[in-house]
Symmetry: C4
Subunit: 487 residues, 4 copies
Amino acid sequence: MSSWTLEEVGTHNSASSCWVIIQNRVYDVTEFLNEHPGGASIILRYAGRDATPAYEPIHPTDALDKNLHPSKHLGPLSTSAALLATQAQQQTQKTKDELRVEAARKQRPPLSRLISLADMETVARNVLSHKAVSYYSSSADDSISYNENARAFSRFFFHARVMRPVSQCDPSTTILGYKSSIPVFICGAALAKLGHPQGEANLTRGAYQTSIIQMVSSNASLSYSEIMATAAPSQPLFFQLYKNKNDAIAEQRIREVERLGYKAIWLTVDAIVPGNRERDIRSPWDLEEMETGKKEVHVDVADGELDGGDSGFGTAGALIAHDDRDMTWEKTIPWLRSITKLPIVIKGIESVEDAILAADAGVDGILISNHGGRQLDYAFPPLEILHRLRQQRPDVFNKLEVYIDGGIRRGTDVVKALCLGATAVGLGRPFLYAQSAYGVPGVVKIVQILEREIVTAMRLLGAASVQDLKPEMVERIDWQPIVRPKL
Amino acid sequence: MSSWTLEEVGTHNSASSCWVIIQNRVYDVTEFLNEHPGGASIILRYAGRDATPAYEPIHPTDALDKNLHPSKHLGPLSTSAALLATQAQQQTQKTKDELRVEAARKQRPPLSRLISLADMETVARNVLSHKAVSYYSSSADDSISYNENARAFSRFFFHARVMRPVSQCDPSTTILGYKSSIPVFICGAALAKLGHPQGEANLTRGAYQTSIIQMVSSNASLSYSEIMATAAPSQPLFFQLYKNKNDAIAEQRIREVERLGYKAIWLTVDAIVPGNRERDIRSPWDLEEMETGKKEVHVDVADGELDGGDSGFGTAGALIAHDDRDMTWEKTIPWLRSITKLPIVIKGIESVEDAILAADAGVDGILISNHGGRQLDYAFPPLEILHRLRQQRPDVFNKLEVYIDGGIRRGTDVVKALCLGATAVGLGRPFLYAQSAYGVPGVVKIVQILEREIVTAMRLLGAASVQDLKPEMVERIDWQPIVRPKL
Amino acid sequence: MSSWTLEEVGTHNSASSCWVIIQNRVYDVTEFLNEHPGGASIILRYAGRDATPAYEPIHPTDALDKNLHPSKHLGPLSTSAALLATQAQQQTQKTKDELRVEAARKQRPPLSRLISLADMETVARNVLSHKAVSYYSSSADDSISYNENARAFSRFFFHARVMRPVSQCDPSTTILGYKSSIPVFICGAALAKLGHPQGEANLTRGAYQTSIIQMVSSNASLSYSEIMATAAPSQPLFFQLYKNKNDAIAEQRIREVERLGYKAIWLTVDAIVPGNRERDIRSPWDLEEMETGKKEVHVDVADGELDGGDSGFGTAGALIAHDDRDMTWEKTIPWLRSITKLPIVIKGIESVEDAILAADAGVDGILISNHGGRQLDYAFPPLEILHRLRQQRPDVFNKLEVYIDGGIRRGTDVVKALCLGATAVGLGRPFLYAQSAYGVPGVVKIVQILEREIVTAMRLLGAASVQDLKPEMVERIDWQPIVRPKL
Amino acid sequence: MSSWTLEEVGTHNSASSCWVIIQNRVYDVTEFLNEHPGGASIILRYAGRDATPAYEPIHPTDALDKNLHPSKHLGPLSTSAALLATQAQQQTQKTKDELRVEAARKQRPPLSRLISLADMETVARNVLSHKAVSYYSSSADDSISYNENARAFSRFFFHARVMRPVSQCDPSTTILGYKSSIPVFICGAALAKLGHPQGEANLTRGAYQTSIIQMVSSNASLSYSEIMATAAPSQPLFFQLYKNKNDAIAEQRIREVERLGYKAIWLTVDAIVPGNRERDIRSPWDLEEMETGKKEVHVDVADGELDGGDSGFGTAGALIAHDDRDMTWEKTIPWLRSITKLPIVIKGIESVEDAILAADAGVDGILISNHGGRQLDYAFPPLEILHRLRQQRPDVFNKLEVYIDGGIRRGTDVVKALCLGATAVGLGRPFLYAQSAYGVPGVVKIVQILEREIVTAMRLLGAASVQDLKPEMVERIDWQPIVRPKL
């Protein structure tokens, strides 16, 4: 296999013959254009050119091997071409957003000055690229689910008990049999490389250092094997499965992660179609406006000539384009059980009814979740579902482990969920923000803050262990507190 | 019939002899002054002069034929007079508001950048004249009904179901037997020409292109025949009837629309007197202030000399001055049935009690509505009435079709109403805004956005068709979310 | 009796001998100092000087005759002294607040531009002196009662009925047997002269022109006879009695108003001690700051030397210093009945329990009121008390007439109260604001606005007379609308 | 014992030999470093130097005698050294915050212009050092408990009774048998010297002048004996006990205060570990930023080199480092009863369940409190607990006295608590603010304001004594008023 010059690649710059350069290697993606989950147009922007800067932050390293036939891997650039490509990249003028991020990273406060998860989010929102913050923070429609997920916690107050021995206080628990230093796990969240070059590996290392468990997304920006390679020998990792509509492809993915040593399958059921994440959709237009200093205005033509092009579904749409939209309890769970002996958790239960069906289906756990408010707006807040499940069907908690995620930002939030019967809670965005802002130490800091807050809350509640947290310690109040994050 | 000079017309410039020029034709309106629904004074401002610019945007073309005896149609201006009149119009200096609108229309973003109905409203509010935006957006008293219509939707959350096959998802339905691509229709809304020269015809064409149904207002600014002439051969149109207090005149109107091919009569019962729409009333004063740059101040006279003139009822008052304020179930429905075989829908039901009476009266449908919050302030939100009706009298839904309007701005809003038993929902202002801002393509865009949002919500709820939407999928919550339209 | 020079009066300038000039007459108030309800210090500021400007706006003309022994009426100033006094008054430099008011009065909009009571309040707040606006608008403590009185109305929504004949709609009613054009009366409110030189006479004339009834306060700034002299021959006036703790003095007052022709006694029971009206208390300090341009600062002394002077109770405290704080149902009502045959209404009922006791005591009416939120903060909103009374004891409405006041600003407010059983409602501040801003025409305008709003609401509710307004037409909702007065 | 020079002391400037100067005396604290509740690092900042300015405002005068072995009291500075030390202190440049405070104290308004507790807090927040205001005002996490403590009062409205004799109105009561002029006591609050040089003595003197009772904190900045020495001969003082985990040390403290004449022991059970008071924690960083004019920024290093130092627990953490975290009803109450015959009150009950256990344990009173919102965020508001206790277990009120604290700022707040069964209420921060701003007269002023407000509320409620305040006079409403402290 010979090597290529930039000129040679440059002639394949159209839909009829489309080559791209990624990390100094040349690929023929002509036939792949229509299979690309993110659509053909995004690839065609780089036809005949170097696509590395756009490709790298959102694709794991094995994406090309998995998705593009070996015959289309055309081989390396010539040495001189590679040199030119690198120079071209270096000479590319930085965008205003890149310059903003560079300056902001130099202004990060020392970690010791961060004393809450809100502090961490503030730093991260400053140092993240506009594209990353838009993807991480965006939520469906009018952000009602996103906001109400968090606000639900403010409607549960404590009946604290005094005069109980709490000098020794242990916040640890087990999740699917695996030990966790606090009842918190890292929820599957995609595209960590958007925020930090090491991406999901920061989470893996931070989880190990603090003895908590990471759930790895199907849409991670590192390959499943890279992440596992980062883990310590005995460190447990869970796998968040987005099931392909092709059962054979889905099975292949499960076999791979089982072989790699992942300890459980968390089947995602609340994101079978993309949510309407307006902030993410608008992100490229914002950047354009930021760069040019003005909104793109419409040329004054007659109404009939107006363009009516579609606006797409943002980053989220591309990731799940091939996912299975026809899963059922009757078909999918038995199929999954037939493929793997790993514990199965259903991620994305949004009603008491489905929690009961999950228990009937014999799965090992359910994660009550509305996908962080990113899918269906006005989905019920997970804490409210947990509360109803506790009141209406306490027996379900004996049949499987129950987790919740969405809106958890304080130790008291964690403790409330545990009082109502949750085994543990998941956090997604806070860990993405932390690794983006400070890498591994950021992840460790988040766990330290949560542990301090959880232990403080448990002691002041009169609880020396997670077993001491009881439903009668929380009451759902009938008024709505005014929540102002900071004074 | 000879032609007239401007001088000849100009001598008839008082209440004792009042002629006006409209589209280069001369009319003697002396005797009509007291019959004019908008009052004599507005006509007298143009006595002896060209009234076209004020007349045209709010009157259908057949208004003069229908309301002014042929003997008062005095004939055309002379050619030279018509030329002078046209020149005079062109030389009239544009008002500040007209200049503002002109500039704003050149700044409209391309339609592909609009991803929500809120985006469309934002554009429209910029490009509409002050008079138009005041008339379209105004609501009664303190806008409580207007705001609470929308806020009611935010109190209904979903219990979404997962693990249901939804790759195939069909949002279509039928309304009074007519097919509609989504469970949404265009609600009767008056004076579309205030926003766009083609007026209601934009709605007709947009409805056809997207396979939804338009309801045409009695107070449309195009004539009923013009609108029907715009429609495609098989395109169904509904007619919103404001019943004249003179039964004979009312019958004549019904006969006309039946003959023209309208498919149903929607009898309006919630607007028998004008609501107190303060924004509309204040509109001319605002314009005066905008033009002169200062508020009109009072000359400092003794209290006793203060003027006490009435402030009128704005645009709305004029439109319904001759409507029937004494309709009853016993008298009006049988009379209407005796006139027409078309389906009858009662538009403006505001209580469970009247929904039951409507079912007893044997009509074909009811539109639960408080007229978009434009009539009685503190009228119950339609969604709340629908919810009560579902709970208290589910049998009513078997006797007639139930629709609601008011405050619907998202696909989730539509889906909530359908879960509670509505057959379809009406939208008024969003379509007026869309046709004002972009003409037909704007109308099409609104339907595209709604369809995308409805299908997304249905799939994430686990519903593959409108029949799958059930009351148990929504719950009325006991807290009030904070709704911020945009992030 | 000789006449006095300014020098002669000027020597009596201390507490041991204190003379004052009022309208060019000289009075010895030395012995009266300690009896003055407003305290001695306010009089001593004018010892030996002309007190007219401070005295006139808050005292009726007969105050000196009623309260100061004839022997202390020392006679007129000499002609030249009177001239000097007048000149002195004219040369007094106007305060910044007086100049502000003068300018504001010239900027009043014409009455035809006022379309709501909120508009009137806006104008009035601009043209009133700081002292007047502070007295009129102030309310107790943190203004919770004041604000919640109004907000209570926003929690009652209508179940409007359609298809009812309402072309004829009559909003009139009777109050204690006296005809009123709308179910609204002018509530007793003190010190109208603070806002307008004609004071309460504006209200009397406006009430006559619009056929509504005025209740005259014991603390009116015109004498009861002056007000009655202003009334038309057959015009009914009610009297709001603040009962003196000395029964003989109280009886004398009742005999006087009965003789003058007042038609009913409204005994005030919710203002036996002054409320904590902070805005009123702070008013003189605000004026001082406005005049000097800076807050009075404390000279930096040791803590122990700090002054600890009392802050007084503002204007309100002075007015009721001698009132009876020991009234009881057993003692006071029979005593009152023994004095007068006039109808008796208890003004200031704040609980269902006392409404029942009032019915048992056989009075003719009750005004459910917390004194416009000026007395006890966190007193229940009158509309809520009315609602409870309707639900718990509907029989009470058969025994006496029930009125409410507090927070009524819209026709819909009036109609809600009538649906729940009120015979009529009282408004205080809106009438004070109206007469302050525009004199009699302002008062008339308020009634016109209310009548238009009431009739519109009745028609849209399906009610042709006040008898058609029923409890089932309103529902107390379980959410709290966001009330923004204007768009 | 000889005297020391500054040079001699200066050589002991490290952890291996650490001497400090306090009020011109020299102490060897080398061995004490690890015992210091506030940690070693804060002492080491002053190693070999004069620590008086930092030491004095937060330590009682007997702290060294009680905590440092006599052999470590090394004796006085030499006369010349003491002179130099004093000069050094005087020459130290004032910080920006000190200069701000100095200026603000000169601008205090005269006390007569303060008419509410909110006014007092406004002045105090201006004149307090940043460190003091941070410590006094800080509360746990997101200040939900702090804010909701106060907001709970706004959900209880009055059913006021009229026609009851109240000219004589007595607000006095007894607390544990001791007379109090109003049903209010000064709650234990630490570190009064942070706000004023006389510290807790201001409270003692103010309490005496107004005949109310002061509860003295274990963490007072004056010694228990100094405070008692300030008291008048018959003046009762209560003692707030923070129990040391070493029973012997705890017993020693109880014996001391009993001997000094304190009248009751209030055992604190809601502050066994420090709350997360973020404002207090951030205070030194704020000061640093204030002084340098910029936020400390992070040097741009790789993520791995980021510091991960702990942020500490602020002032609060230090004070209770040695407290008992293993108290129980079974063990601690009998032990306490065995030590002392004084009445025992449990301070910090946060649930109905524990109120019942306290009654069973036979204590004399309970203070329902969540420590002013400084400990567990989302602890129930005390007024809500009181309300539930009244409804669920009215018998508890017969077994012991019940008090509440937290959020009380108005006379109406006090009256509501008494209606629901409280014997008296405690206020902490308002008294700290008052003594900080004005010393003793400030404390007296607070009581005067409260007395005026309480008596006004009682009279307007129809209550002539605290016995007349009944549960049926308040109702918990189902809406949430909007509370704006000032107009």
